[in-house]
Symmetry: C5
Subunit: 96 residues, 5 copies
Amino acid sequence: MDVCRVVGQAVSTAKDEGLHGTKLLLVRAAGPDGAANGPAFAATDTVGAGEGELVLVARGSAARTTGRTGAVPTDAAIVAILDSLTIDGKVTYHKE
Amino acid sequence: MDVCRVVGQAVSTAKDEGLHGTKLLLVRAAGPDGAANGPAFAATDTVGAGEGELVLVARGSAARTTGRTGAVPTDAAIVAILDSLTIDGKVTYHKE
Amino acid sequence: MDVCRVVGQAVSTAKDEGLHGTKLLLVRAAGPDGAANGPAFAATDTVGAGEGELVLVARGSAARTTGRTGAVPTDAAIVAILDSLTIDGKVTYHKE
Amino acid sequence: MDVCRVVGQAVSTAKDEGLHGTKLLLVRAAGPDGAANGPAFAATDTVGAGEGELVLVARGSAARTTGRTGAVPTDAAIVAILDSLTIDGKVTYHKE
Amino acid sequence: MDVCRVVGQAVSTAKDEGLHGTKLLLVRAAGPDGAANGPAFAATDTVGAGEGELVLVARGSAARTTGRTGAVPTDAAIVAILDSLTIDGKVTYHKE
């Protein structure tokens, strides 16, 4: 799963029926310190993530194996809100 | 899902039977302002998208979990036409 | 699906039984004008494509959802021979 | 499978129910000598890997075909702890 | 499928039960002349490939649709040993 920062939201009226009622968040890949460093893409949300939070995004068919996204035509789903990241014994990110 | 701009169309007579009756649109990945910045590739359309529109494209097996694309041998499907994109509280794209 | 140019062929005697009787074509990703610009990789063929033709290649599990490739261990299948590509209202490629 | 180095851990309280009880390790792609050279991402663990160990990570749907990860919404799973790597007849990595 | 050169082997004692009895070969992507040009990664073998041979590697879920790899948590499988590659009517590689 990729460490990503939730940076915004996509709004769509004309969408596949499987996406109705699904929030489409915009996320960007982030480094271990939580700073966004990749291009924005859309992910469905299964854990109630909010803007600014650091999350894990499952890509590909994994996005459709969550409790909520079985019938949703998604290739990216937020599956966890991160509390902290530790690398080489050092906390590189901690949620405020 | 990737934010993409619909830029054109691919026409094919000799194609897999699963693609018969399916429109093949050409799309390019786009930034948050809607400007295309990636190479063109073909996507099937499940929401009636038209040229020039900003859309979300589901890649991989997700492209075959839409209402219309179950039996289609596609690895990319347009699943939403975008109304707007908001990043860091700022509207970066709004459909005219 | 990726726009690709068929550039050659791979020959193999010792191969998985699922590939027996399957032609292995070499293709390269191509731009909207049909010029090859990517590295060569092998794709199975479901539509009778020939060398020099511009085609659409379905990647990943989509390669195994065609009429002919169900039991073939392939991650890339030619699913359409292109007649033309149109971008921004301009024909960028037309089969001769 | 990618050769990766286990470099740390991700902690999350609010996560998809399929991830409850699953350790989320941070890994980085590594070269044949075991030196990490890629960005960090999260992987589920099925073999009891520990920090600092060199492992193989299965990506995509393969991550959900292990003995332990069937119902977990993961796109990356550690499936082996490496004892050694040999390239061109030369041992390039050996676990201490 | 990617044209790859078998360059070595990975040895692991602690691995997912689905990998027991499976040889883990190290491969690198190769050009049409057979010269390796990509980073090393691990692939399961279904055709008895040996070090130095040029092979086709199926990535993703295709790696688990071979005769031998159904229950193996692999995302890369060697599915063919190459006899020759021909590009633009010219033999670029021929097995000795």
